[in-house]
Symmetry: C2
Subunit: 372 residues, 2 copies
């Protein structure tokens, strides 16, 4: 539906220009890959930022919208962002921008301090002494924090594929496989089925290794009596999924069962209180209290959840989000208990907030599962 | 050989401390993943920087060496960097660092402006007003620019695997395959055979698409009469390979043969002049002259070569490197001719500079190859 896409782009650009007015800025420079795609349609592959330079950077004023691209990317920019004026670049970003800012007498320019390196920012400040540079990261994140129906639909399709992937993995996993072999199964499934592959490097950890919340799959073998922690996501039409299940290879002992039950209760406590108007921090606290009351307060070191959309981790970060949650926000709910050298248990689902409460976009069972 | 690794780490740390003395700094903060691994052994997976926060950051003074890690990474840091004192972090980098700097009365601190975002740098400056912040990116790159024998050995093993991968690809490629299918063959081979997988997303481009120096593999089919450009690398024990070959699917016409010959002559001209003492820019110019004299000066838009090691692109960047090249430097030599809408040809090899001249670490034939 190309016309709908165009309208969507126009709405988003209008919101960006309102932001310029509100902040009293003459221009905005947009650098994050997710923002380039959100506003213009220009799309970098995962990891491509490492080599793409600043191609795809947007320069927006009240009356203009330029997309910057070097010789490698001009064809792509013209195709993917047809309603943007193309500016072919050959110099450093600071050199190109200083020219643009001077030509337009832009006194106040907003840039993404969280996306530009300090080296680049300093060089811009030095070469464009007539322009004051302002950080606009939070304001840009706020523009994307509430998802529209199309965005939620894409996230839901990514989550549904995550559910199918889990189902597949539970049919192939067996004691004796290595973490890496199972991770490869997981990746092959998602690359074959998701239009844009993985959202992040999958986490596949067995036994005591599951206590590392971001450990990498290794040559360690999955053994009887192990927990198996699977945390993975994929990308569909730009939008991402993210889910974690912790399953048991052979029947767990009572201690393990109890730990699992605590994590599940913590997650449910958080989900139960979700509705528009509740602050993110209160939801984080609800899950944390359950784990603390069970005597494992120190064993839950990370935040309860993060927004998800074009990026795996975006606003709102529940642990820091003191404002009320709003209809259309989409985020993870993922409490965990990590006991170094012993085990790790995490359960993660993605929730879209509706007027009447939470809607789970991941659908896999959260009951304790034992692989015979 | 754990003891050798420890000695190596000690040498590298001593060089870092000499740098502190030379620059009159009280402390250095090391942020780039390649530098963390180089100095301490702490290793992030490819792409893991997106989620690891600042875990693995090093803080070094004349008498101390700390490695910062949040709860997710403390086990890994203790295992991989046993000679470093571990500091478990829970706050923002700026908060943790401002405490460290104040406790030590550090008046001058060096940081990586090219690795830290401007947001983080500004927050550190704000929270540590007693410390002047200095950029030390170039000085750190200089510490790694000459490789030792073990490093060259690892790069050579990665290059040898690249050669084997090319050999494999040339046996499986056939007209009718899509670029993406061949890219998947390539990736599967390297992930099955290289200890740490790919160095970067492989470039597989057929026919006119080869004119995009960093194009992504697509559903385009490889057809008779196409050129096929393959640019890929892998990672072995942390060190990377990078190579490009352009082959022909069916016999090329005379125009194509001539273009290929020009690129090969340009590469050979650069290789022929390599010896310690020659400036990088002169080598770049030698290849560029050959292409310009053949009438294609505008069609070679990128630099001739880049250093390679723990990162795919590192110092020296030949095109900007006015200093004399030194024994132990390792870099690519990769001239190309790109004619948009028609074709692209690039030949890339990795060279280690020895006292007596260049040693090619990639060994694949550079003669024009035709796939029947």
């Amino acid at each position: 539906m190309p016309s709908a896409v165009t309208d969507l782009g126009a709405d988003r650009l209008a919101a960006l220009r309102s932001m310029l007015v509100d902040l009293d800025l003459d221009a905005a420079v947009i650098s994050r890959a997710a923002h380039m795609r959100y506003f213009s349609g220009f799309t970098l592959g995962r990891g491509e930022e490492a080599t793409s330079g600043y191609s795809g950077t947007l320069f927006v004023t009240a009356s203009e919208q330029l997309i910057l691209a070097d010789s490698r990317y001009v064809e792509q920019a013209a195709t993917e962002a047809p309603s943007w004026e193309l500016r072919r670049t050959s110099d450093a970003l600071a050199v190109e921008l200083s020219g643009l800012l001077a030509d337009r007498d832009a006194l106040h320019c907003g840039l993404e301090a969280g996306a530009l390196t300090h080296a680049t920012w300093s060089q811009i400040a030095q070469l464009a002494p007539g322009s004051e540079l302002h950080m606009i990261d939070d304001e840009l994140a706020a523009l994307r924090i509430v998802k529209d129906e199309r965005e939620i639909d894409a996230i839901e399709r990514a989550c549904a594929l995550g559910d199918r992937c889990l189902e597949h993995l539970l049919t192939v996993v067996r004691a004796g496989m290595t973490e890496r072999e199972l991770a490869w199964e997981l990746e092959s499934f998602l690359r074959a089925n998701a239009s844009e592959g993985l959202a992040f490097e999958p986490i596949v950890l067995a036994g005591p290794r599951a206590s590392m919340p971001h450990g990498r799959p290794s040559e360690a073998r999955i053994e009887n009596g192990n927990v198996l922690l699977l945390d993975f996501g994929c990308q569909v039409d730009g939008y991402r999924s993210d889910m974690t299940r912790t399953v048991f290879i052979g029947p767990p002992d009572d201690g393990m069962r109890e730990l699992y039950a605590v994590v599940l209760r913590a997650q449910q406590a958080a989900i139960d209180m979700l509705k528009p108007g509740v602050p993110g921090v209160a939801v984080d606290a609800a899950a944390r209290d359950v784990i603390a009351q069970a005597g494992h307060g120190d064993a839950f070191g990370h935040g309860l959840g993060h927004g998800i959309g074009l990026e795996t981790h975006e606003a709102p970060i529940l642990r820091n989000y003191v404002e009320p949650l709003r209809t259309g926000m989409v985020f993870s709910v993922e409490p965990g208990i990590y006991l170094p050298g012993r085990t790790g248990i995490r359960i993660e689902d993605i929730v879209a907030l509706t007027e009447s409460g939470p809607r789970l976009l991941t659908q896999s069972s959260r009951e304790l599962a034992v692989i015979a």
